[in-house]
Amino acid sequence: MTEPLVRPRRKNPLARTRLPTLPPQWRSRTSHELTRAAAEGRFALQCCAACGHFTYPARDACPVCLSDELVFKDAPHGGTVLSETTLHIPADVYFRERAPWRIGLVKLDAGPTMVAHLHGDSKEGDTVRMSLQIDKAGQPVAFAQPQTETPHMSDDKQWREMTADPKFRRVLVTNGRTVIGQEVVRAMKEAGASIIFVGIADAWKPFPGEAALRAMEGVTIVPLNTADEKSTFDLAADIGAKIDILVNTSEHIRGGGLLDRHGTSTSVDEIEQSYMAFLHLAQAFGPVMRMRGADGVNSAVAWVNILSVYAFANWPQFGQYSAVQAACLSLSQCLRAELRPGGVRVMNVFTGPLDTEWFQTVPPPKLAPRVLATGLVRGLKNGLEDAFIGDVAEEVRQRFAANPKALERELGQ
């Protein structure tokens, strides 16, 4: 049975903060298909198009028929633990600091055997549910856990290394003025976040939901105008070292493409409120989060961006918005690489049109803010890197993977 996590005490100011170390990072190019699956929370393995055998580890030819048509596809995630061991003296600093560490060899229902991190509640002989996870190094690893829920299951110390569970962590929601921001606050509270800092820009301007937000226990309103460099840095100076999960809810949605918009000031606003906001947040909060990636139970663990799925392909009805989202997506990849040494993951949550005022004229389906917030927290708990929430986002993901050109044409009609 998993020991429930203990709420961390206040930090001892005399104790040195443990610096982040990372598990082994090298992977073959072929293996990064597993990275893609792990990022999205899918259990995918190579499957031979010629003979139908699943193979693992990643190969460049089928070991049964030598075909090179090895396609990664979702595989049955059941398996049986053939053998297990507890590593007491691993060779590498990251694991040595976290030893004892359990691994197992799992016979997959899909066929191959898989060396996997082993959940504390799974042992030799057990059937397990396999998943691919992104580890602290940002690389794919296999994880075996019980097929059915066990008490405090998500508190398992090895599982927690693979995830960014908000439980007992301190969260900054960068914009609480919006319904999205407020729903994220609510979902974080439900997930057991210990403190939720909520950024409010232009506090002189009232906003819907303000009274409820201010009354919420465990919520601390902080002045934060992410479009403004100084405001962002000032807040980071105050609370930057306490932020374990940063949810960038900075949002600025305006319809319109290029030719029917007059002037550029709306575009500048879009860039300021989204791209520049992201950039300010990253420069202000990123360095200290990167340093605190191994700071105990409430270590810095994740950076979350809420992005439009139209970052992948431009939706001309919201053409300039899509373009800024694409820029933010690109920036998130840069941030991801730069936060990696700290073991802090960057999770992008992709959505289609939201059921909010700025998508008022868009026909359904539209994503309810609460569903987005719930999906965001689920993504953190499952350790995702790319979470596609809602039917539209999932559909666009698939269409983009299948044929980006078709997606471009069809969005433009």
Binding site: D202, A203, W204, K205, P206, P223, N225, A227, D228, E229, K230, S231, R254, G263, S265, T266, V268, D269, E272
Partner: protein, 259 residues
């Protein structure tokens, strides 16, 4: 050798006989700007982006890039700002006559009324009552409306409710009257805008803008320290930036007051 008036003026400043009062708010990113429905174009607040601060981007010097709207912070409205003044000659900040940048002011103190009623409206009879006390408002004078609004915190200063801003200002008739019956050079307020908070609902809407700029006159807003000015006799120095075809400009507004 005869002393020139400017020599006298310099001596008066040096001796303190003439006091200089700064009527300007600090330009800061969090200072409120005019609030319009979000789907229309927005005034950009002050943005300060550091270029360098004795660091690798400039080892020996500190400087910033700034971006802001022509109507951010304590600012000047030129006639071209409003549709009523769009066809007037020399109606933009780069062409307006320099002599208009220095002019005397009449200060009407309505701070007591504004303290009681955020929707306080200045009317002609109120100005007539002021004239009865201080004399007729001369032509080419600024009229500055003192409300002490500038002393509030930003939230109360903007005072936004679900139906918009609630801040004191002039009614339509008094603006028409001041411009056409008194020939003022401009109208200045402590609030965000020369107009009343709910002035969209007046006839014409936003009458201060309508009448002032339609007659080639000016506006000053987001002023402070009006409580340090005498009802009459202060000299206002208000030189906007020479922005090409600019509709207005943030500026430093100074009042010269004779002790």
């Amino acid at each position: 050798m005869d002393k020139s008036p400017l020599q006298d003026f310099a001596a008066a400043i040096a001796s303190g006989k003439v006091r200089i009062v700064d009527l300007t708010f600090t330009l800061s990113p969090d200072f409120p700007v005019i609030v319009l429905p979000p789907e229309v174009g927005q005034a950009m607040p002050m943005r300060i982006q550091r270029i360098s601060r004795y660091d690798d981007a400039g080892p020996g010097w500190y400087w910033n890039n700034i971006t802001l709207c022509e109507h951010t912070g304590t600012h000047f409205d030129a006639p071209i700002h409003w549709h009523t003044g769009k066809d007037l000659p020399n109606n933009a900040v780069d062409t307006l006559p320099p002599q208009d940048m220095i002019a005397p002011a009449c200060v009407i103190d309505c701070s007591a009324e504004a303290a009681k009623d955020a929707d306080f409206l200045l009317t002609v009879p109120m100005v007539e009552a002021w004239e009865a006390k201080h004399g007729r408002i001369p032509e080419r004078h600024w009229v500055l409306l003192r409300t002490d609004w500038s002393k509030k915190n930003f939230r109360d200063y903007a005072n936004l409710k679900e139906d918009g801003a609630h801040t004191p200002g002039p009614n339509a008739e008094v603006m028409r009257w001041l411009v056409h019956e008194r020939g003022i050079i401009g109208f200045g307020t402590e609030t965000i805008g020369t107009d009343w908070g709910q002035a969209f609902h007046l006839d014409p809407p936003l009458p201060a803008h309508h009448y002032l700029h339609g007659a080639g006159r000016y506006g000053l807003q987001c002023l402070c320290n009006l409580d340090q000015l005498p009802p009459t006799g202060a000299m206002i120095v208000s030189a906007p930036l020479k922005i090409e075809n600019g509709s207005g400009s943030p500026l430093r507004v100074l009042a010269l007051v004779s002790n």
